[in-house]
């Protein structure tokens, strides 16, 4: 039987997985790139600033005036440079523009920052800050503070803004790049996965049809000579072999039928002609009993053959039939039998359309109903219910007899198996084997359930509207 249940598409998982993986790896690459560049920039800045700090320190040894002069020189020079990279501010112990010996306050600030930023005078670490340049521009700077003589300070920094803009721009581009990568990777992954999954689906469809529909179809073998091509070839080869085996089985079965039935038939005919010639009833009784035995053998044989034929799974004689009408035909025969045995027969049957061979389905139902009757206690109740929903039907036949213990439920379908409760009940033990063979041929599932007490046989299969 086919396993039913929800299936998730491998296609989606493949496509999504591919895109996610691709994006992640590209994203990591870009992230590393971004961080590296930024780190490089900062190191450059620190290096430049450190060089200046060293220079100023040397001047400091020569005196504050040297420092002031140097800084004024530097900021004058740099004021004309468009990028205006290095930043200076020379302050006194109170972090304010120091009055020069000549008292010229008008030349403040000494440097190119408007004022001391919000950072402690004792800060010795590298800091990154938003500052305001003397021309009013905002800048983002990497700064270091150098303590001077008499507790004066100089702040030196490098304007990171141009680099920052660049890395921001880079970051923006990287995000766009990542999104694009996700989209393109997703789309690419989708198309690739779809092609592969489509080929697999085609194979699945064909294999699915092998069961109920027959063995006619084959996978196309044109196309690239790759793993899929080989898979198709292998499956076609298997189907060829199965087909051969099936027809071999059928012809063997038919051969057995011919070989064994004919001698038995001749034997029976001879016994019948013997009966006509025998005068006395005692010998006639013996001959009749012999004929009964032959009949029993022939019936068993016919049942075995019928099982084999149904197991070959041929669906070429299937038609769309109304299962309700089929059950009613069987009940025409069995309702009186149930009544004669004093049993109640309750039915709740809807119209349900299925594909199948009506003749063998009737036999299957007859076997099940016959069993229910055979194993019912006096005054027993037999229930038959048929309903359909969502393209599936469910047929149940229940009795309140001894039921079947759980450990025997699988074995009971085997040929010639008879449960312990069946002593004294006529039969050859093939009834349920035939039921199973017919059900399988129709892709119908059988379950044996407890009817508390008794047995409930549930049949389920595909229904059409």
């Amino acid at each position: 039987m086919l396993r039913r249940g929800r299936r998730r598409s491998a296609l989606l998982r493949l496509a999504f997985g591919y895109a996610a993986f691709f994006t992640c790896s590209v994203g990591i690459l870009f992230l590393v790139l971004h961080v590296t560049i930024e780190d490089f920039m900062h190191r450059q800045a620190r290096s430049a600033v450190a060089e200046e700090i060293a220079r100023i320190n040397d001047k400091n040894d020569l005196g504050l005036r040297e420092v002031e002069t140097y800084i004024r020189d530097r900021t004058r020079d740099l004021a004309t440079l468009p990028s205006n990279r290095l930043i200076y501010l020379y302050v006194d112990a109170d972090l304010r523009c120091p009055a020069t010996t000549s008292g010229r306050l008008a030349n403040c600030p000494i440097g190119n920052l408007l004022q001391w930023p919000d950072v402690a005078r004792s800060e010795s670490r590298w800091r990154q800050f938003d500052v305001v340049l003397s021309n009013g521009e905002n800048a983002f700077a990497m700064i270091k503070i150098l303590p001077l003589r008499h507790d004066y300070r100089v702040l030196v920094g490098q304007n990171l803004s141009p680099q920052q803009r660049m890395t921001d721009e880079l970051g923006r581009l990287l995000i766009i790049g990542a999104v694009l990568t996700l989209a393109i990777g997703g789309a690419g992954g989708w198309f690739v996965a779809r092609r592969i999954v489509r080929r697999i689906e085609r194979i699945n469809l064909l294999c699915h049809e092998v069961g109920p529909q027959g063995l006619g179809g084959r996978l196309p073998e044109t196309g690239p000579n790759d793993e899929f091509g080989e898979l198709s070839q292998n499956i076609n080869g298997m189907l060829d072999r199965i087909s051969e085996l099936m027809s071999l089985t059928r012809s063997t079965t038919d051969q057995i039928a011919h070989d064994l039935r004919t001698p038995l038939a001749r034997l029976r005919i001879k016994l019948e002609s013997l009966i006509e010639r025998l005068p006395d009833s005692e010998n006639v009784a013996v001959a009749e009993s012999a004929i009964d035995d032959i009949e029993a053998i022939l019936n068993t044989f016919a049942a075995l053959l019928e099982i084999a034929k149904n197991e070959s799974g041929d669906t070429s004689t299937f038609e769309r039939i109304d299962l309700r009408a089929t059950i009613e035909q069987v009940l025409e025969l069995y309702r009186p039998v149930a009544e004669e045995s004093g049993l109640q027969l309750k039915t709740e049957i809807e119209t349900v359309w299925i594909d199948g061979n009506e003749g063998v389905l009737k036999q299957m139902l007859a076997n099940l109903i016959d069993n229910a009757i055979k194993f019912s206690p006096p005054d027993g109740r037999i229930g038959i219910a048929l309903a359909s929903q969502d393209g599936r039907f469910e047929l149940s036949i229940s009795d309140n007899g001894p039921g079947i213990p759980e450990n025997q439920r699988a074995k009971i379908f085997e040929r010639f198996y008879r449960s312990a409760d069946s002593d004294g009940v006529a039969g050859h033990g093939l009834g349920l084997s035939l039921v199973r063979a017919i059900a399988r041929r129709h892709d119908i599932q059988i379950d044996l359930l407890d009817n508390n007490p008794g047995l409930k046989v549930v049949l389920m299969g595909k229904a059409y509207t």
């Binding site: 029976r268 005919i269 025969l333 009186p336 036999q363």
Partner: protein, 230 residues
């Protein structure tokens, strides 16, 4: 009655010919499909017994060709294969009944008698009268001795079938196949026919005279044995 048996297996053929001759009929024999076709087309037989597997031309094709040239002789197909598709093929190609080998002699004779009855019957009468029994076909009801018999659908069909084959032996398998539409080769169990017969009998014969439904031990049933034909 003239019967043509088309059968290639010599022992089977000899047996069949013997059975039919002992039943009082004149029997001819063809060993292959082509000869059988020629004979059936050239002369008018009352019944044909055709084996399915024949050399030169198989049984189904023989019948198909005969029907094409309007030879409507009732035919019974014999077969060792019991496939459902065989049954459908056989009946659709123009066979009137189907019997699986090995068969009991009784079975063959009873079915051939039934076939010959069918062909002799006229266009559907409205009512069949047997002794004090009236079978009304349109209303699917029956009356005996003036009292209506309360029959179920299947009981009526069974009675009608018996009435159409009065005096002849009707076997259990014939009832299963022709009245209850059961596929030949399959067996719904020994008691179903017995129960159906006993039910019909209790409604038909219990309060009436003479009893019309007789059981012939180990062989089958006869309806209105008094009407037995030769």
């Amino acid at each position: 009655m003239q019967i043509l048996v088309i059968e290639d297996d010599p022992e089977m053929a000899a047996n069949t010919v013997r059975i039919l001759t002992e039943a009082g009929w004149t029997v001819e024999h063809a060993e292959d499909g082509r000869t059988g076709l020629q004979m059936a087309a050239a002369r008018s037989f009352d019944l044909l017994v055709v084996d399915r597997m024949l050399p030169k031309l198989d049984g189904i094709s023989v019948l198909r060709r005969l029907r094409e040239i309007d030879v409507t002789t009732p035919a019974l197909i014999l077969s060792a294969l019991g496939e459902p598709s065989d049954k459908v093929d056989g009946l659709e190609s123009g066979a009137d009944d189907y019997l699986a080998k090995p068969f009991a002699a009784d079975e063959l004779v009873a079915r051939l008698r039934a076939l010959s009855r069918r062909s002799q019957a006229n266009a559907h009468p409205e009512v069949i009268l047997i002794e004090d029994l009236e079978i009304w076909l349109k209303s699917k009801s029956a009356v005996r001795g003036g009292k209506p018999l309360d029959l179920t659908d299947s009981e009526f069909r069974l009675l009608h079938y018996f009435a159409q084959h009065q005096g002849d032996l009707i076997t259990r398998n014939m009832i299963l196949e022709h009245v209850f539409n059961w596929r030949p080769g399959l067996d719904p169990g020994t008691t179903v026919v017995e129960v159906a017969i006993s039910r019909l009998r209790s409604k038909l014969d219990k309060d009436f005279d003479p009893p019309l439904l007789t059981t012939v031990r180990r062989r089958g049933y006869v309806f209105n044995a008094a009407a037995r034909s030769s």
